[in-house]
C-alpha cells in the first residue's frame, strides 16, 4: 500500500475529504461572520444560534408543512434572515457607536435566548432530518466511499462561497457594501440608505448561517444547541483569516477543515484543538490574520 510519511495514502485522502466537508461548514459560517463584522464591527455571537435556527426551521417545515429539503434550502435562510433584520432594526441598531463590547454582549444574550427557546420547545436530545431522495447512496472515489450527501455539501458550499465572494467583489451592490465598510457616513451623504444596507447585511450574514444549518441538518442531530460548539471553531477561523476579510474567511474555513482532517491521521488526539493552536500561532506571527490588512 502506498504511504505518505508512513501513513497510508487512502487514509490521508479519506480524512482530507471529510475535513473538506467540515471546512465547507466553517467557510459558510465564517463568511457570514466576516460580512457582518466587516460592515458593523459586531462580533455576532448569535451566529451559532441562527445556524441551529436554520436547521430547526427546515425540520419544522418538513414535519408541519411538508416543505421538502430543496425548498427549505431557500425558505429557511429567508425566514431566519428576516428575523435577523428584525433583530438589527429593533436591538443591534441601538448600540451603534458604542463600545463593541455591547454588541458582543447583546448577541450573546440573543444566542442564549434562541437556544434556550429551541431547547424548551424541542428538548435537548435532537432529531434527525432525512437525507433527500436524490442525494442518498454513496460515491466510490477509489480511495474511499463518500456518501453522496457529503459530496453535495462540498459542492453547494463552494458554490455559495463563490457566489457571495462574487457579489461582494465584482458587482455594484458589492462595491456599495465595500464602500460602507470603509467610510459609511460619506456613502450616506452620497444618497445611499446606509441604515437599510446595514440591516440587509446583518440579515444576509445570518441567512448564510441558516443555510449552513439546513445543509448540516441531514448529517447531524438537529437541536437548539447544535451551533454552540461549531461556532467557537468558526470564531477561530475568522480570526485566522483576518477579521472582516471575505476571502480570508472562505479560504481559512476550508483550509482549517483540511488541517483538522490531516491531524486526525497524524495525531488524532489533537484534532479538536489544532484550529486553536493555529489561531494562537497566527495571532503571534501575523495578528491581523492571514488575509487581514495590517
Amino acid at each position: 500500500m502506498t504511504e505518505i510519511f508512513g501513513f497510508p495514502v487512502v487514509v490521508v485522502l479519506g480524512q482530507l475529504v471529510l475535513g473538506l466537508v467540515n471546512g465547507s461548514f466553517y467557510a459558510i459560517l465564517s463568511l457570514g461572520l466576516a460580512v457582518i463584522f466587516g460592515l458593523m464591527r459586531v462580533v455576532n455571537f448569535a451566529h451559532g444560534a441562527f445556524y441551529a435556527l436554520g436547521a430547526v426551521t427546515a425540520l419544522l417545515g418538513l414535519k408541519l408543512l411538508g416543505v421538502n429539503y430543496w425548498a427549505a434550502l431557500v425558505l429557511a435562510p429567508l425566514v431566519v434572515g428576516l428575523l435577523g433584520i428584525l433583530v438589527e432594526r429593533l436591538l443591534l441598531r441601538r448600540l451603534a457607536g458604542l463600545d463593541p463590547l455591547y454588541g458582543l454582549l447583546l448577541t450573546f444574550g440573543i444566542a442564549l435566548a434562541i437556544e434556550g427557546t429551541l431547547q424548551q420547545l424541542f428538548g435537548s436530545s435532537g432529531e434527525s432530518y432525512p437525507v433527500p431522495e436524490a442525494l442518498r447512496g454513496a460515491l466510490n472515489l477509489g480511495f474511499m466511499i463518500l456518501p453522496r450527501y457529503r459530496a453535495w455539501v462540498i459542492v453547494a458550499s463552494l458554490a455559495v462561497c463563490f457566489g457571495t465572494w462574487f457579489v461582494i467583489e465584482r458587482t455594484r451592490l458589492g462595491a456599495t457594501l465595500r464602500a460602507a465598510t470603509e467610510n459609511a457616513p460619506l456613502l450616506q451623504a452620497f444618497g445611499v440608505n446606509v441604515p437599510l444596507l446595514v440591516a440587509l447585511t446583518y440579515g444576509g450574514g445570518v441567512a448564510l448561517a441558516a443555510l449552513a444549518g439546513v445543509l448540516a441538518a441531514p448529517v447531524i442531530l438537529v437541536n437548539g444547541t447544535m451551533g454552540s460548539s461549531i461556532v467557537i471553531v468558526v470564531f477561530a477561523v475568522v480570526v485566522i483569516g483576518g477579521m472582516g476579510s471575505i476571502l480570508g474567511a472562505i479560504v481559512s474555513g476550508l483550509l482549517l477543515g483540511l488541517a483538522e482532517g490531516l491531524t486526525k491521521v497524524v495525531y488524532p488526539e489533537a484534532s479538536n484543538i489544532v484550529v486553536f493552536v493555529i489561531m494562537a500561532l497566527v495571532l503571534v506571527l501575523r495578528p491581523a490574520g492571514l488575509f487581514g490588512r495590517e
Binding site: 455594484r172 462595491a175 456599495t176 465595500r178 464602500a179 465598510t181 470603509e182 467610510n183 457616513p185 460619506l186 456613502l187 450616506q188 451623504a189 452620497f190 444618497g191 445611499v192 440608505n193 446606509v194 441604515p195
Partner: protein, 234 residues
C-alpha cells in the same frame, strides 16, 4: 429671475459637546458660484457637513430647492440633488477608479455620463481599473469631483478642491468649475486658495469662529482686499 437654491438660517452645529457653528446665515441662488472664505478652523468644512447632516447634531433651517432639510437623514438630503466633495476627498481604497466613479447613486436627472466624464478627465480613463487610492493626489481630486457630476446633483459642495495640488492641476480644476458654472450648476466652494477662488466665484462669504461675518459680490472684491488681507492674510 434669480431663485434661491440654498438658504441657511441660524444654523448651529455640534460635535458631541463642542459647539462649532453659532448661527450661520447665508444663501445661494440657482446657478451661482459662492465661496466660503475664512481662516483654518473658522468652521467652513463644518458648515458643509452640517448642510448634509454629517455633524453630531444641528439646529436651525437648511432649505434646499424649497425643501426643509434640517430634520432629514444624510441620504435623503443627497436626494434633494446635492453632491459632496469632502476635504479629504474620500476616495475608497477598496474600490477601483471605475467603481468609485459609479458609486454614488443618481439623485437627479441630467447627470453627466461616465464616458463624457472620462473625456473631461482623460487621466481617469487610463486608470479605470486602478485601485482608487493608488491614483495621484490630483487624479484622486478629479475623481472626487467627477463622481458627483454623474449623479445629476445640481448643488455641488466642494471643500478645498485645490488644496495641495500642482499648479497645472489647479488650473484644470478651475476650468472644470467654470464649465460647470456655464452648465448652470449651483456651487458652494470652501477655499483657502484665494487666487483659485477669486476669478471663479459670483459671491463671497467670510467665516470667523463659526459665524458668517461678511458677504459681498465679486464686483466688491477690490474694495474688500484690505479686509481680506487682514482676515485671511491674502
Amino acid at each position: 429671475m434669480t431663485t434661491e437654491f440654498l438658504r441657511v438660517t441660524n444654523l448651529h452645529a455640534f460635535y458631541g459637546e463642542s459647539h462649532i457653528l453659532h448661527g450661520v446665515d447665508f444663501s445661494v441662488n440657482r446657478g451661482e458660484v459662492v465661496t466660503l472664505l475664512g481662516r483654518n478652523g473658522a468652521g467652513r468644512t463644518t458648515t458643509l457637513k452640517a448642510l448634509l447632516g454629517l455633524v453630531g447634531s444641528r439646529s436651525g433651517s437648511v432649505m434646499i430647492n424649497g425643501r426643509e432639510a434640517i430634520g432629514l437623514p444624510p441620504h435623503r438630503i443627497a436626494r434633494l440633488g446635492v453632491g459632496y466633495c469632502p476635504e479629504e476627498r474620500g476616495i475608497y481604497a477598496s474600490l477601483s477608479t471605475e467603481e468609485n466613479l459609479s458609486l454614488p447613486p443618481l439623485v437627479g436627472s441630467g447627470g453627466i455620463a461616465a464616458e463624457e466624464l472620462y473625456a473631461m478627465f482623460p487621466n481617469l480613463a487610463e486608470r479605470r481599473a486602478t485601485q482608487g487610492t493608488r491614483l495621484s493626489g490630483g487624479e484622486q481630486q478629479m475623481l472626487a469631483v467627477a463622481r458627483i457630476l454623474r449623479t445629476g446633483a445640481r448643488l455641488l459642495l466642494l471643500d478645498e478642491i485645490s488644496e495641495g495640488l500642482a499648479p497645472v492641476i489647479v488650473q484644470a480644476l478651475a476650468r472644470t468649475v467654470r464649465t460647470l458654472r456655464e452648465r448652470g450648476y449651483t456651487i458652494v466652494m470652501v477655499e483657502q486658495n484665494f487666487r483659485f477662488a477669486a476669478p471663479l466665484a459670483d459671491r463671497f462669504y467670510v467665516m470667523e469662529r463659526g459665524r458668517i461675518v461678511d458677504g459681498f459680490p465679486a464686483a466688491a472684491l477690490p474694495a474688500k482686499m484690505g479686509m481680506l488681507h487682514e482676515f485671511l492674510g491674502v
